[in-house]
């Protein structure tokens, strides 16, 4: 009898703190992540009645609608924007992260602060700053005309290029942070050994540095590519409705067209793209811990 009491007491003393610590998060994640995402899956198979209410009838029609020809061009545009944004972020972000990882601790701290600081100001207002700069009578055209490089103002605003610029601008730090982590961890002795053995800088970069920091590149790619499919406000602000993204279509289903089931089907596609990318990343030896942890 006493034995039994003792074990139950022991069990309680171990279980109680565990429950108090882990149950809030379990409850929160279940109610606000698991259930909402499952519900999204459910309504992606539903339809709407005349007054836009969701009718729970099992149908594939939302998924069939995904192949609509007008949508295909939007997917194409969205992939081009996301792809170019990602590639350019890698090309600019890699040397930047490299410089940051190799400089003095003081400069590194400084670079990190100034990289993150713009985040404290509203990103819409910063994008609006770009809109001012890129406008027909804006400063960039103004300067180019004064210098004499162009005669007629360039049409820069409300183009796909402007949307890509805005995406790079918004997502750049998310590329640099994982890259910096990867380059910072790189063992410098390897590079010294390569140089001692006669390898030139270019060769040791492509044979040592690049392969060993590939996980950082891939983490950055995920952190930039996936959001850029959904950042509808960037194309709203700088694309002026001309450069539509998947995100814009989803937004419209929820705020204007009130076709939630179709919007849900579209977002299921986004989830599948995300899962696929993360799967490739982990298969290639990437660590999920390095994603998004600033």
């Amino acid at each position: 009898m006493r034995m039994k009491l003792k074990t139950s007491h022991k069990l309680r003393s171990k279980m109680l703190p565990l429950i108090t610590m882990v149950s809030p998060v379990t409850l929160w994640l279940t109610l606000l992540i698991v259930i909402p995402l499952l519900y999204l899956l459910v309504i992606s198979f539903a339809s709407t009645d005349a007054s836009h209410n969701i009718e729970f009838s099992f149908t594939f029609k939302n998924y069939a609608k995904l192949l609509d020809p007008t949508l295909l061009t939007i997917y194409g545009n969205s992939l081009v924007v996301a792809g170019l944004t990602t590639v350019l972020c890698v090309l600019i972000g890699y040397p930047f992260a490299y410089i940051m990882a190799r400089t003095t601790p003081f400069r590194k701290t400084l670079m990190m602060i100034f990289l993150m600081l713009p985040f404290w100001t509203n990103s819409i207002i910063r994008l609006y700053g770009w809109r001012t700069l890129l406008g027909t009578n804006g400063y960039i055209n103004n300067i180019l005309e004064t210098v004499g490089i162009i005669k007629e103002p360039l049409n820069m605003l409300f183009t796909r290029e402007a949307v890509i610029l805005g995406m790079i601008y918004t997502l750049f730090p998310f590329m640099v942070l994982p890259l910096h982590t990867a380059i910072d961890k790189l063992d410098k002795n390897l590079l010294e050994a390569a140089s001692d053995l006669g390898a030139r800088a270019v060769r040791s970069f492509f044979h040592i540095t690049l392969p060993l920091t590939a996980s950082g590149i891939f983490a950055g790619v995920i952190m930039v590519f996936i959001p850029s499919l959904g950042y509808f406000f960037v194309s709203d602000l700088l694309g002026g409705g001309k450069s539509q993204l998947i995100g814009n279509v989803i937004e419209r289903q929820f705020k204007e067209a009130f076709n939630w089931p179709f919007g849900a089907a579209l977002s299921i596609v986004l989830i599948l793209i995300t899962l696929l990318l993360v799967k490739i990343y982990t298969k290639a030896g990437g660590n999920v811990d390095e994603l998004g942890v600033v």
Binding site: V25, I124, T274
Partner: protein
Amino acid sequence: MNKRRAVKATKKISARIFSGLVFAFLYLPIAIVVLFSFNISKRNILFEGFTLDWYSVMAQNDALLQAFANTLIVASCSTLIATMIGTLTAVGMFRYKFRGKGVIDALLYIPVVIPEIVLGIALLSVFSLCSIPLGLISMIIAHVTFSIPFVVFTVRARLSGYDRSVEEAAMDLGANRKKVFFHITVPILLPGILSGAILAFTLSIDDIIISFFTTGATSTTFPLKVLELVRSGVSPDVYALSTLIILVTFTIVVVSQTFAYKRNKKES
């Protein structure tokens, strides 16, 4: 030898020019915002003359100030809740092995990797299913949801070098669990908890997409207000408020980082 030094110098200079250009790219639009907050002309095209009028216009723009207040309310409440839940989670998952730990771990990554728009509409759908009214509360709930993982990850990073024997010593000396948690665990983890909280706050004040879907008619936040204004044209008083925000945050960040840097230097 001389050639080597020359190569090194060129490398250094090109590195500086390159990072300088990147920072110019990052700060150019911010400079425009600050400049145009002092612009006489209402049309945000070119700078035409200096004035401070927009600052008094801004001070009387109740809708704008209300939106800014909403942003701060949502950010503070969601940071507080997310930091509490996140810290408990990180410590609990560090200390104990239990069934379902892997599942919680996997679930924590969902808000980090899925596009925000998906989480936004998923929450909107469930709020409407359960007839939860859209407003400050629904937005706070949504912000807590995407903030928790970031707090857990930052606290967890701090826990990796954590020595549990200090806790055991306190227990042996008669402290109960609650006392140990608040007097030993929390103070040791404080830097991690604080940076988690700062991260959550940062994500919350600049959040657009998730707020866009979970906000109600009267609970507009500052970013959403600006998004709404963009369609009709942003008046320079929005720039004036943004400039003040920039000024305050730059000061806070620079001062706190200088202290942190000096302290780190002393420690090492």
